[in-house]
């Protein structure tokens, strides 16, 4: 297969396993490119990409922008806080205005779940979802699974536990879809107030005891507690959360095997994981960031190849 089965990357749901494998092999090539003395290829030089960020972001936005620039695309950036959205313009109006400036692709982060799907039905450009509310964050799941593949050789058959705020996490949902597609076993772990009631219907195990979860797992993906999405108290205090669900070196060393530690960032050091764990050789957090650029280059490249001239 040399082409994606989809025209937009709105979520991992809707992708096929072959799509993910194609993205991975393409990302392998781009990873080599970004480690060259000159890290740029001219593939997308005749395309313009708009990064529309209706929600704050550092890593994802930088990563997309770097990926676009390394593919030689022209890039326009937009953030909601400094735009006419605050004057009451609707999403479609904002985007249509940007599109009439001849933009070919849109990378969008939006606080509302389904914003990407909605947009893809109303405008002609290719859409890449860079996170829509608590729904999906497909490129994060792709780079997470790619990083697991890189560290452990393959994803199939590996046991991955996603720890923390599953309820508010788009990273968790996209990761579950991607890991399931690639044949990994998935467990979620966290306080029961932060685990959706029907999550087991997605084919994942549920565990509330962190130690048991880590004893089972090959990989632990530690999620950030999303205070900004929590409208009420889900656990008594941060201190209690980190005692129950935080990972420190003592806990890791007490396991009879070495597990891989991941984190999508930004890290609350001392809450989900201690600094020592974040900077330990078991952690692949910075590899995830590097792979993020390669994965996003692959996604943009493969979607762009489907744009008709």
């Amino acid at each position: 297969m040399s082409q994606l089965s989809v025209d937009h990357l709105l979520g991992i749901k809707g992708l096929k396993r072959e799509d993910i494998e194609l993205i991975f092999t393409t990302a392998d090539n781009f990873k080599e490119v970004i480690n060259r003395p000159i890290k740029k290829v001219p593939s997308l030089r005749d395309l313009t990409i708009a990064n529309l960020f209706f929600e704050n972001s550092t890593r994802t936005r930088l990563s997309f922008e770097l990926a676009e620039k390394r593919l030689s695309a022209d890039v326009v950036n937009f953030s909601a806080s400094s735009s006419s959205v605050s004057k009451g313009e609707t999403l479609i109006d904002t985007v249509n205005n940007i599109l009439s400036m001849k933009v070919d692709m849109v990378v969008m982060r939006h606080p509302n779940p389904g914003a990407g799907v909605f947009l893809s039905k109303h405008i002609g450009a290719r859409i890449v979802n860079a996170g829509d509310g608590a729904h999906e964050h497909p490129t994060q799941a792709l780079l997470d699974t790619y990083s697991i593949r890189e560290r452990l050789g393959c994803v199939e058959g590996k046991k991955v536990v996603i720890v923390g705020d599953i309820l508010h996490s788009r990273v968790a949902l996209s990761n579950i879809y991607a890991l399931n597609l690639l044949g990994a076993e998935v467990m979620v772990c966290g306080p029961s107030t932060l685990i959706p009631k029907f999550i087991h219907t997605l084919g994942v195990k549920v565990e509330t005891d962190l130690r048991k979860a880590l004893e089972w797992a090959d990989v632990a993906n530690m999620l950030r507690v999303q205070h900004e999405r929590q409208d009420l108290k889900y656990f008594p205090s941060i201190r209690e959360y980190s005692q129950m669900y935080g990972v420190d070196m003592k806990l890791l060393n007490s396991l009879d095997k070495e597990i891989v530690i991941m984190h999508p960032g930004p890290i609350n050091r001392g809450v989900e994981i201690t600094s020592e764990v974040a900077d330990s050789p078991q952690s692949i957090i910075l590899d995830q960031v590097e792979n993020g650029v390669a994965i996003r280059m692959a996604v943009l490249y493969l979607l762009a190849s489907k744009i008709e001239r």
Binding site: N29, E32, V33, R309
Partner: protein, 182 residues
Amino acid sequence: MSQKIILGAKEIGITLERLACQLVENHSNFENTVLIGIQPRGAIFADRIKTILELNYNLKDIKLGYLDITFFRDDFRRRDKPIEASQTQIDFLVEDKKVIFIDDVLYSGRSIRAALTAIQSFGRPSNIELMALIDRRFSRSLPIQPDYKGRKVDSYDGEKVVVKWIEQDGEDGVYFEQKTTK
């Protein structure tokens, strides 16, 4: 599909030896020269040339890299099917080096045009030469000519020249393939 043989295994062997000999004539000890096989089909050709140089001319430490040009092509989004990328593997810089591009078939010259851009990511070579096993004359779209060529072939559009290597296809041979029209 009709197929006609252009070069058999024996002829390919003779041609490769001649091409290697011509390289030695121009580059003597290969101190400042590097070989770059253009992926995917030029890589095996480049391996063969390197082996001959090592065995017949006792040359050691010849630098060989493989260059993939997929992301540098000028026909992105212009083809029906996108090309799948291969691996680039160049673990040295080409700054001030004499570079020899090695590819199996020289047709429109567009691959080589892309390779000329792609190689710049690895430094500024002092000069670049081109070796092609098959030179399809009269089909060039760009002003690019080989410095070392195995065999010249005249062909029409719609005809295809296929190079087979024993490492990949189980035999050495160069064939003419023509789609038969009904």
